[in-house]
């Protein structure tokens, strides 16, 4: 078992090195020529079109950015750490707001078939709307770009939580609810002491899906609204067609997304139970 793990890890490293090696040598920059004419200088060198930067350049850039992640050179130029912090703040605010609504409403829908049938048409219509489609409307009504971005996160992360909560609550084993009823527990106590622990794994699955979606959406939302955040960072570098920075920020987005997912995965394993 252990040897398979070791060998797998080794193979992963070999793949990575191979991939980066081919990339590095495939994109060797032509050495700058001497004696450029004025026209060539104004064209930014005589070589052909710009190319994807080699991995060594990206790594160099990453070291440079990460060595000073919280610098502040004016309101439009802040370090990668600050930008990520802005994005995480927006995602968490929208996510917690969505949680505050999705969990109670999900319980209501899950426990009452009547409410489920009454609200289901609305949920089905609203759910598939791309969260970014809300942006122009949000900007117009809320009149604040920061809150609009948070609203977009809110609206995209509410649905998986709501549906999973409803599903989890509706599928709690009938016997357990009956036991609670024979003990003459009030509906509120039943919900908290019996249904909540029983439905918790399903609810957390919903939350995990939600935070994943929220992280995907925040990048696009910030590219649209600008100002701060990792999405703005990507946009600002795209503006300058600086691919090394773009690739570096893509990696950072991936790492943070993975950490968010891991955190919720950990929370999920805490509420798992065996029947």
């Amino acid at each position: 078992m252990a040897s398979t793990n070791v060998r797998a890890a080794l193979l992963s490293v070999v793949f990575l090195v191979l991939f980066l090696g081919i990339w590095e040598f495939g994109t060797q920059v032509i050495a700058p020529q001497e004696n450029l004419s004025e026209y060539e200088m104004l064209m930014g060198g005589a070589d052909e079109e710009a190319r994807v930067p080699p991995p060594s350049e990206i790594i160099q850039h990453a070291i440079y950015e990460l060595s000073d992640p919280f610098y502040d050179r004016g309101s439009n130029d802040k370090g990668i750490g600050t930008q990520l912090a802005y994005s995480i703040y927006r995602v968490l605010t929208g996510f917690i707001g969505a949680m505050a609504i999705a969990l109670p409403v999900g319980f209501l829908i899950g426990m009452s078939p009547l409410m489920y049938k009454a609200l289901n048409p609305y949920i089905q219509v609203l759910r598939p709307i791309s969260p970014l489609a809300w942006m122009p409307l949000a900007l117009f009504i809320i009149q604040d770009s920061e809150k609009s971005a948070i609203f977009v996160i809110f609206i995209c992360s509410i649905w998986p939580m709501l549906l999973n909560t409803a599903f989890g609550v509706a599928n709690v084993r009938e016997d357990w609810v009956n036991v609670a009823r024979t003990h003459e527990l009030s509906p509120v106590r039943t919900a908290i002491t019996v249904i909540l622990p029983a439905a918790a794994p399903t609810i957390l699955t919903g939350m995990r899906i939600s935070i994943g979606i929220a992280w995907l959406v925040i990048v696009a939302a910030e590219m649209l609204v600008g100002g701060t955040g990792i999405g703005y960072y990507v946009w600002n570098e795209w503006n300058n067609l600086d691919l090394a920075s773009v690739i570096f920020s893509i990696l950072m987005i991936g790492v943070v997304g993975m950490l968010l997912d891991l955190a919720l995965g950990k929370a999920q394993s805490l509420v798992e139970y065996k029947e």
């Binding site: 026209y39 502040d72 050179r73 802040k78 750490g81 100002g227």
Partner: protein, 473 residues
């Protein structure tokens, strides 16, 4: 926060410029200090160490001293510093005030400005060279000179700039000259009265085509092309339509015109989503730099001296904060006039190229601002007025824009051209401020313009609209 360029102008050890690699206390602290968690206390110490002004009164005093001292040295910070080091601050201050009545100047400026209702402002800009005066006023200290602490905020596109202006997040913003007209009339947005006290740049745009179309220089060969313009209510859209229609190409039927935010133009041209575009610089020059496009024609050859971008704010902001509005307008007009001078263009290029502002290679910005550029066809061109800066908002320009909005069906029904242009383009205020600052302003607000050889008479707008064969109204 400290205001960096308001350092003591009589101190020879202190720079007033603060470039990206600046080594002064403030800058190194700002660079290193943002990760430290010792805010307020250390900040105050910094202020004291740098001997910066403490309140707004002192700030204004310092701004005036700074302006005077800077102008004595012709805005050359290097010679100011060596002079101050040689003389010592006290002697220098006494010397300057003996020839220039600093105290009186301070009192006069404060009287004429009145008390500022608001000193912290948010001004939006889209990262293009048209916004040069709005942007460079920040690193070069034009806002501070009038006691304003302005945050220039980069915006992804004009729809966002419009929405942030409408909802008051921006006190004032960089816009396209047709936008305040459209916003005031409620065309393509909710109606709110906007005023445009200053034009930013004239000329400075170009039609760029993909390198594959080097053999198709005649617009008649462009049928089926996909063109990009930055916004519907833009000079770019109206100039491209005009240019195409003059060559017999119907811009609505023969080609496709898409709205693409300027920063995305080059990427779209490379990907083949666009065959060409009429866009603001630096993205024309950037396409040449990236070797994906060439400059087909500069817009100055379509209409010499056409307006492009503007500085605008809501009527509400101007009437609620008259003194702040006045100070801001003075800063902008000052900055625009400063940008007009070809000698300053290199310095400006370096000041606005960093990430915080345009985020472009200096070499590209310089080609745009100095007008010595590679055209992508193998030639070096020398056109010093490729882009120019002139704040005066001609009413006749506003009328022309309205005729084109009418021509292409963006507005319908009877339009009172002059009335709207005069409401939005507040040329009277601009003239007053220009004269007060010592610049010459035109006495007229209407003049004839010549666009591709055809004369536009602002007194006969409706006849002008009817005179075109290709039109939608």
């Amino acid at each position: 926060m400290t205001i960096k360029s308001l350092g003591n102008p009589f101190d020879g050890d202190q720079t007033l410029i603060h470039s990206k690699q600046c080594g002064c206390n403030d800058c190194t602290n700002a660079r290193a200090g943002s990760d430290s968690e010792l805010p307020i206390v250390s900040d105050q110490r910094q202020v004291q160490a740098n001997d910066g002004p403490a309140d707004s009164e002192a700030m204004l005093d310092r701004a005036i001293e700074s302006a005077v001292v800077r102008s004595v040295f012709g805005h050359n910070d290097h010679s100011r510093r060596s002079f101050m080091k040689m003389m010592g601050a006290g002697t220098a201050a006494a010397l300057v005030s003996s020839v220039f009545p600093l105290d009186k100047a301070k009192a006069a400026v404060k009287d004429s400005l009145g008390k500022l209702e608001k000193t912290k402002l948010n001004v939006g800009f889209v990262p293009i060279t048209c916004a040069t005066p709005i942007i460079m006023a920040h690193p070069l200290g034009f806002y501070e000179r009038y006691g304003l602490d302005v945050n220039v905020s980069k915006t992804a596109g004009w729809a966002v700039a419009r929405d942030k202006s409408l909802n008051g997040e921006y006190d004032a913003s960089h816009m396209l000259t047709p936008m305040p007209l459209a916003m005031t009339m409620g065309a393509g947005s909710s109606a709110k009265r906007f005023i445009m006290p200053a034009v930013e740049n004239i000329n400075g745009q170009a039609i760029v085509l993909h390198v594959d179309h080097k053999d198709k220089r005649d617009p008649k060969d462009w049928k089926g092309f996909k063109f990009g313009v930055p916004f519907e209510y833009s000079m770019h859209n109206f100039l491209l339509r005009y240019y195409l229609a003059e060559h017999g190409v119907d811009p609505d039927k023969d080609v496709q015109i898409r709205v693409v935010p300027p920063p995305e133009m080059v990427a779209n041209l490379r990907a083949g989503n666009l065959d060409g575009y009429l866009s603001p610089d630096p993205f024309n020059q950037r396409a040449v730099w990236e070797k994906v496009g060439f400059i087909h024609i500069l817009t100055k050859d379509i209409w010499e001296g056409h307006p492009c971008c503007a500085f605008a704010c809501s009527q509400q902001f101007a009437s609620e904060n008259p003194n702040t509005y006045g100070a801001l307008l003075r800063a902008i007009i000052d900055a625009t006039q400063y940008s007009q001078d070809a000698d300053n263009r290199k310095e400006i290029s370096e000041a606005i190229a960093p990430k915080n502002y345009l985020n472009q290679p200096v070499a590209v910005i310089q080609q745009v601002l100095t007008g010595r550029y590679a055209d992508g066809l193998g030639e070096v061109q020398n056109v010093p007025d490729r882009i120019d800066f002139d704040p005066f908002p001609w009413h006749s320009m506003g009328v022309w824009i309205l005729t084109q909005m009418k021509r292409w069906g963006y507005i319908e029904g009877d339009v009172d051209y002059q009335d709207i242009a005069e409401q939005v383009y507040v040329a009277g205020e601009t003239r007053k401020v220009m004269e007060e600052l010592g610049y010459t302003a035109p006495t007229e607000t209407y003049k004839n313009h010549t666009i591709m050889g055809k004369t536009f008479d602002p007194k006969k707008p409706e006849e002008y609209v009817q005179s075109f064969d290709i039109r939608r109204s």
